[in-house]
Symmetry: C2
Subunit: 336 residues, 2 copies
């Protein structure tokens, strides 16, 4: 029976919804017990630790009401996959709690499930369970993700030591520029550049391919969700060390570089990119002697790694740009 896309969801039985739309996402996962039970059961896996992370998204806060729901589903999975990648963990499964407003009908829910289905196939994980509820407020979803690491090998935030080199994957700043473009800004850029940046904001690319290399080479790692400086600061705090960042070394995408070239104050502009959120790249620290091997191995997987600073004794983050130390008042974007 094909659901009527315009049928108001209030008239739809939640069990129908689970059976028709969610159960297929759990297929092939004995852990999920066909979504027929109160809970999922994760069998012991000798030699491995389970890594668990949980992130929530709220319409109007973390995504725009106009964002297509399949993209929202992808983003929800991907921000959680980004956490797993930073910890050196391989994707395993997830639990979803979704609070649906009545205005989201079958078509919207089906789009959300389509986004989940595509991405769980792509990244190799299954739905294990969760909860579906209604809300008089905005669409809200939280996802709990599970991954495996070899026992004792999770890459912590707190492992940075003096003389480590700080590296970042990919390019920094596209997320915050993409948000501005999605809200109608950045009119000075070409349509192609704006489209590129919007897609980077809407659909992050979690660096799952780096997980194994991080376990080998990184002393500490985190994903960049709240901004390069803020997330570097958390590594510094957790590691009880100081991190020095050189913003002029910060890797930029071509569209971000073209945006930068249009700015009157490049130093302030770079600082803004370094404080912006939603990059979902990896920041990590590694011993200097391993950096060139680490970079070459990542490049072989198609991921660029760029050294942008170092770790030393002290506390907090010191941000430099062409040698000058910048005063940071409030590092990083925080979702209000």
């Amino acid at each position: 029976m094909t659901p009527d896309p315009e049928r108001p969801f209030e008239s739809v039985d939640e069990f129908d919804w689970i059976e028709r739309c969610l159960t297929p996402l759990a297929q092939g996962a004995p852990e999920a017990l066909g979504l027929l039970d109160d809970a999922a059961v994760i069998p012991t896996r000798p030699g491995f630790d389970l890594v668990i992370s949980k992130d929530a998204l709220v319409e109007g806060v973390h995504f725009l009401a106009s964002d297509p729901l399949d993209e929202v589903a992808r983003k929800l999975l991907r921000v959680n996959l980004s956490d797993l990648a930073a910890k050196g963990a391989e994707p395993y499964g997830y639990f979803l709690a979704a609070a649906w407003p009545a205005r989201h009908r079958w078509a919207a829910r089906a789009a959300f499930v389509r986004g989940l289905a595509d991405d769980q196939n792509h990244f190799g994980l299954k739905l294990f369970g969760g909860d579906t509820v209604s809300t008089p407020g905005p669409f809200t979803a939280s996802l709990t993700i599970l991954g495996w690491v070899p026992q004792g090998r999770m890459v912590p935030r707190g492992g940075a030591i003096t003389a480590d080199v700080v590296l970042v994957s990919g390019a920094i700043g596209d997320g915050c520029l993409g948000l501005e473009a999605a809200q109608g800004g950045l009119s000075g850029l070409t349509e192609a550049d704006r489209t590129f940046l919007i897609s980077r904001y809407r659909r992050p690319h979690p660096r799952t391919s780096l997980a194994a290399l991080l376990r080998i080479h990184a002393h500490a790692a985190a994903d960049i969700s709240d901004g390069l400086i803020a997330d570097a600061g958390r590594i510094a705090t957790a590691s009880s060390h100081q991190i020095d960042l050189d913003l002029d070394l910060m890797p930029l995408s071509d569209p971000a570089a073209r945006w930068l070239a249009l700015q009157a104050d490049p130093r302030a502009a770079r600082l803004r990119l370094a404080a912006g959120g939603d990059d979902y790249e990896i920041i990590c620290t590694a011993p200097a002697a391993e950096v060139s091997v680490f970079i070459a191995a990542a490049a072989a997987l198609g991921v660029s790694l760029t050294p942008i600073g170092h770790v030393g004794p002290g506390r907090g983050v010191v941000v430099r740009d062409q040698g000058a130390v910048l005063a940071i008042e409030r590092a990083g974007y925080r979702h209000a």
Copy 2:
């Protein structure tokens, strides 16, 4: 530094909030990494499976805006603990995602944390991680709970077999009567009875003490969150068997029995209690030969178990009351 209770939360740094209020909930749990990391790490535990469940609560749907937030926190933990208990699992830890409206200031958040702290001490579990976000909508929280069972010993929904006896713990129907009382109804009852029922609605008592006995004696089990009939129906579905329930055997609290005595149509009234939600008692099936031992062992732990039906070949639930078969149009309350 004591937070100003009337300080609007917008001006409060989320990291302050985590450090001051949430980190103490993670104390003593190495899994949580001091809430300083992107993820928690669960070490392998040979000989045990991990049982995971996730439930969400939305203000205005699952609790009333007037409910005190410490009670909401307890309810959130307890509805999840109830799932663990039904699976025969021992509480271990939890992840919390909370979406806070701006109107909830420090005092409200502190009350919520107080409820969590009390209950996690009482039930023996710790906060492992999660996410805190803001919302323009109602307060919404989802909790992912983790528990341990000896390997392969999770009590499923799908294990009921022919000739099993169906038992329920405690008393049925207080949850739905308590909701009505909390909304100003049940004026025919004494204040003491109304207060009792409201407290049963607001603060469920998950049957964690039954977990080990369920592993020994029960073929199938679930907690009663959506109503006796609905949850019996899910056991029947998952087990591919029929469950026959005798509503005149249904155990009632004294206040619920007094409410029943005031109703013109006792059969309709019993049906309403059996279809009401929020009981958080256990429904389980056990082989007839073990029932008396099972009941005696539960009684020794202070929990009553009452036989209210049996399992046979077929599908679905057949509900009887003093011999007459009742036609069930829509079994169980579902949170709209």
